[in-house]
C-alpha cells in the first residue's frame, strides 16, 4: 500500500466526522497549550528574575534596627565591623526619624532668588559609606568623610532629585541649605542611586550633625555583598552590628539567586506541568475512547477493506494514523495558542518573550505521540477483527 494512499485514507476518515474529530482534539489542545504556556512563561519570567537578581537584589541585605529606650542596639561605628566581614562590599548605617521624616529644607537665597526653594524633604543621618551602599555615585562634589563627622561639621549631601527641587546646580559658590532653620553647606550631590531609589530626594548629614534634630540612633544598615555571599553575611551581620543583641535585629536578605530563579520556575512549573500532563492524559483517553467508538462504528468498512485486499496491518495503520493525526492537530493548535499566550503575557508584563524553538517543534510531536499511543488499542481491535465477522 502506498503511503500516500494510507495518509489519504486516514485524513478522509478524520474529515468524515469533522465535528467529532475537532472535539476529540480538545483534550490534547488543552494539555499542549498548558505545557507550552507553562514552560514558555516560566522561561520568560525566569529570565527576568535572573537578570534582576544577578544585578542587584541577590547581593543586597538590609538590617532593620528596632528602637530601644536606653542604649542604642547598633552604634554608628559598628558599620566598620560589618564592612570588614569577608564578602561585604560596602555598608552604611542610616538614621531616619519616622516622626521627622520630612523636614522643611530651604536652599540659599543666593542660588536663585526668584524661585520658591522651600521643600519638605527627608533628612537622614548616614555614615560615610552611603554612596557605595546605595550603589550611587557623586554627580557633583563629594560625600562627607570621617573628618567632617568627627568635627561635627555642618555639611550636607543631597540626592540629585533633591538638588533639582532645591535648584542646586553647582557647588562652587558653596550653596547652603537650611534644615529646620539651620544652615548647612552642600558639599555634594549623590546621583545614579540604584538601591533605595527614594533616597534620590533625600538630604544626608553626618551623624554628628543629625543628632541636633533628633537623628540619633542607627535605624537601618544597608549592606552589599559579593554575589553568593548574601546568605552568609545575613547570618553574620547581626552579631557584628550588635554584639550580644544581634537576635533583636531584623535581617532582610534575598534568597540566593539560583534558588530565586529555580523557585520562581518551580512554583509556576510544578503545578501547571502537572495540569498540562493531566490534560494530556485526559486528551489521550478521549482520543482512545472516540477512536474505539469509531472502530466499532466502522466494522463494515473494516470488512469491506479486508475484502478489497487490506491486510490486518493496513487496517491497524489507518486507525493508528487517524488517531495520530488527531493528536498532531491538537498539538499544533495547542502549540499555536500557547505561543500566542506566552507572547501576550510577556507583552502585558513588558517582558521579552523567551520562546524555545524546540518547544514549538516538540509540542506538536508530543500531541502526535499522545494520539499514537491512544490509537494503539483501538487499532489493534480493528486489525484483529475477522473479515467474515466484520462483513456479517
Amino acid at each position: 500500500m502506498d503511503v500516500r494512499d494510507l495518509i489519504g485514507e486516514a485524513v478522509a476518515g478524520m474529515l468524515a466526522r469533522p465535528v467529532r474529530s475537532a472535539l476529540t482534539t480538545l483534550g490534547t489542545v488543552l494539555g499542549i497549550t498548558t505545557l507550552v504556556v507553562t514552560l514558555g512563561v516560566a522561561a520568560t519570567a525566569g529570565n527576568q528574575i535572573v537578570g534582576r537578581f544577578d544585578e542587584l537584589v541577590a547581593t543586597a541585605i538590609t538590617v532593620e534596627v528596632p528602637e530601644t529606650e536606653h542604649v542604642p542596639l547598633v552604634e554608628w561605628d559598628a558599620v566598620d565591623r560589618v564592612t570588614r566581614l569577608r564578602g561585604v562590599v560596602s555598608a552604611a548605617a542610616l538614621a531616619e526619624d519616622k516622626d521627622q521624616a520630612n523636614l522643611s529644607v530651604r536652599s540659599n537665597d543666593l542660588v536663585d532668588p526668584a524661585r520658591v526653594t522651600t521643600q519638605r524633604l527627608t533628612v537622614l543621618a548616614a555614615s560615610t559609606g552611603l554612596p557605595e551602599a546605595v550603589r550611587g555615585r557623586m554627580v557633583l562634589g563629594r560625600f562627607y568623610d570621617a573628618g567632617h563627622v568627627r568635627r561635627g561639621d555642618r555639611v550636607a549631601v543631597i540626592g540629585d532629585e533633591a538638588a533639582r527641587m532645591l535648584g542646586v546646580t553647582r557647588l562652587d559658590a558653596a550653596p547652603a541649605i537650611f534644615i529646620a532653620g539651620r544652615a548647612y553647606t552642600v558639599i555634594g550631590v549623590l546621583g545614579d542611586v540604584r538601591r533605595e531609589r527614594n533616597l534620590r530626594s533625600a538630604v544626608f548629614v553626618p551623624p554628628t550633625a543629625g543628632r541636633r534634630f533628633g537623628l540619633r540612633d542607627v535605624s537601618r544598615v544597608l549592606v552589599n555583598t559579593d554575589l553568593g555571599a548574601a546568605e552568609l553575611i545575613a547570618r553574620q551581620a547581626p552579631a557584628a552590628l550588635s554584639p550580644g543583641n544581634g537576635d533583636m535585629l531584623q535581617v532582610v536578605a534575598p534568597p540566593s539567586p539560583t534558588r530565586a530563579r529555580d523557585q520562581a520556575q518551580e512554583d509556576v512549573n510544578a503545578l501547571f506541568l502537572i495540569l498540562g500532563l493531566v490534560s494530556l492524559l485526559v486528551g489521550a483517553v478521549g482520543i482512545a475512547n472516540v477512536t474505539l467508538v469509531t472502530v466499532m462504528e466502522r466494522v463494515a468498512e473494516i470488512g469491506l477493506r479486508r475484502s478489497l485486499g487490506a491486510a490486518r496491518r493496513h487496517v491497524a495503520a489507518q486507525f493508528l494514523l487517524e488517531s495520530t493525526l488527531i493528536g498532531l492537530t491538537g498539538g499544533v493548535v495547542g502549540a499555536s495558542v500557547g505561543v500566542v499566550a506566552v507572547v501576550a503575557v510577556s507583552a502585558a508584563k513588558e517582558w521579552t518573550p523567551l520562546l524555545d524553538v524546540r518547544l514549538a517543534v516538540a509540542a506538536p510531536v508530543a500531541g502526535a505521540l499522545v494520539g499514537l499511543l491512544a490509537g494503539l488499542y483501538p487499532a489493534m481491535r480493528a486489525a484483529r477483527m475477522e473479515p467474515v465477522d466484520a462483513l456479517r
Binding site: 500500500m1 485514507e9 473479515p387 462483513l391
Partner: protein, 242 residues
Amino acid sequence: MPDELLTRSGAAGDTGQEAGRPVIELADVCRDFPSQPPVRALAHVSLQVGRGDYLAIVGPSGSGKSTLLNVLGLLDRPTSGHYRLDGTETTTLREKHRTRLRGERIGFVFQSFHLLPHRSVVENVMLAEIYTAQPRAGRRGRALAALERVGLTHRVDFPPGRLSGGERQRAAIARALLGGPSLLLCDEPTGNLDSRNTEAVLGLFDELRAQGMTIVVITHEQEVSERAGRRVRITDGTLLEE
C-alpha cells in the same frame, strides 16, 4: 470499454488463467464450526466453475450459502478439502498471500453495498485499488472506465447517499470490477432492491457475462437464479447440481 479492465495486471498473471482452466475448483471441502454443538456448515462440497460461468447458489436460510461464499472469497478457510482459485491451491497459502489474492482476483458484491458514505462514487470505486499493486497513476481514469461499464458516468461525483438503491449496487459492482478480477462473488446482490432496480442489476450481470466475466451469485430469489446459466442448491451444507 477499455482493454485494461479485461486483461489482468502482470503481477498475478502467471498462474493458470488459460481459458480452459476452471476459475474455481472445490474438492471435497468441509467447513466445521467448533461451536456447541459443532456445526458442519459445508459437507464434502465439490464444485467447478469455469471461466465465464454464471452460477447461482440457492438454498434455504442456514443451509451454508454464506459459508460457501466466504470460502470462495478467501475470507474463510475450509476445515478440510482443497480450493484452487485460478489454478492456485489456496488452502495452504499464507494469510498474506490469500489477502493479496483476494484483493486481486475477487470482486465482492454485497447485499448492503458497503459504500463509504463520505466519499464520492468514483472515490468509492478507486478504493478497490489502494491495497493492490496497481500504480496510483491513472487510477481515477480506470475507476471512471469501470463506472462507464456499469452505466454510472452521470453520478461519479455524487455521494452514495444521493443514489438510488440500484445505482448504489451498480457503483459497488464497478468497485468489484476495478482491477479486472477473475470472479465476481455476489451475496444476495438484489436483496435490498425493488424489482425495477433488481432488473437493472440483473441486466448488468447479463452484460458482464456476455463480456466473459465469471459470476457467482448467492440468492434465494428465483427471479435471480433463473437468469443464471447454472444453478446449484445447497441443503444442510451439501451441494446439489440442479
